[in-house]
Symmetry: C2
Subunit: 197 residues, 2 copies
């Protein structure tokens, strides 16, 4: 078609995304830039913009992958033990994943995002994950109806998000000596304790 076209479009696209994830893993969010990606991929910063509309669009694609990984992480959890056990396992694994990949957390929740435009798949992916929590809550307390369970799941998620935001921002020790896992577990138990087991 063109100049060299050193890589087919889709291949370049995947290569950029993979490189972005690699930088995030090894250098953190602050090491990620269009120029840094381009350097590693063997292109120029401008070329990134032939494939993605903006850096924030590129990050969105990284987030899509992250949400998928969390989804399959949850899917692979053993379905053994009481609902309470399973909830502790699920929360624990979510926290562990984010602690292992702090920059992915930063990409998901960092920066002041543009309003009025979270893509639909983004919202759906999050609701699907929350739905699993809601389901387990209903197994624990069958008296809950679905919307009550979802409200609880949302509250629980928000609380755990606070733990991670402080922990990964290196400020949790400013507030407490407790570990992220400890705090999340305690809050989960606080929620569960209000309903018959």
């Amino acid at each position: 078609m063109s100049r060299p076209q050193r890589l087919p479009r889709e291949e370049l696209r995947q290569s950029i995304l993979e490189t972005a994830r690699e930088i995030l893993r090894h250098e953190g969010v602050e090491g990620l830039s269009a120029r840094a990606i381009a350097r590693r991929v063997g292109y120029t910063a401008a070329s990134i913009y032939n494939v993605f509309d903006s850096m924030s669009d590129l990050l969105m694609e990284v987030n899509r992958d992250t949400l998928a990984r969390i989804g399959s992480l949850f899917a692979q959890l053993p379905a053994t033990g009481t609902p309470r056990d399973r909830l502790h396992r699920l929360c624990g694994e979510y926290i562990r994943f984010m602690q292992d990949n702090p920059a992915l957390f930063g990409a998901l929740f960092g920066g002041t995002r543009q309003r009025e435009a979270f893509p639909d798949w983004y919202v759906q992916a999050i609701r699907a994950l929350l739905g699993q929590v809601g389901g387990l809550l209903r197994e624990h307390a069958p008296a809950l109806d679905e919307s009550q369970a979802m409200e609880l799941a949302e509250q629980l998620y928000v609380a755990i998000h606070g733990t991670l935001a402080l922990d990964l921002g290196r400020r949790l020790d400013l507030v407490t000596g407790q570990s992220a896992q400890g705090i999340a577990g305690a809050m989960l138990d606080a929620v569960l304790a209000r309903y018959p087991s």
Copy 2:
């Protein structure tokens, strides 16, 4: 002493801080820069560095002021009603303050901070605020000893932090339709419900 010295050191220092707070209030964190402050103060960006070691040091001083404001906000709360009422009031006012001053929240908790060096007054100020929550928790549930109450206070704070981090990052609606105040209230009640009133 020198060139004009258009303002005595301390006066310039205060003027810089005041201007920084003003920018944060009106333009948000993304509008704050050494050059932006300097422009408004009538100096040059380089002059900021005669007074502060770095932008992050400057932000630390803004944070000192913020923590003091929160402290006096808490001090002015009416001491009427049950401990539960007072806790709801305190949490509610904290959330309202941050919602009214989102950039101050961003300054307190944004950016990946430098490890191993939170000044002592910073840690003390936070512990003092948490101590008030712990005190009210003990009034609500006298069976709690002080360290148990502090652990609970810390957990509650972390949960509320999650609410605010999502809300002010404009991502709360991605997770839930509930309001920040609603979620925080529900989590406070979840904590209180575990102990005799």
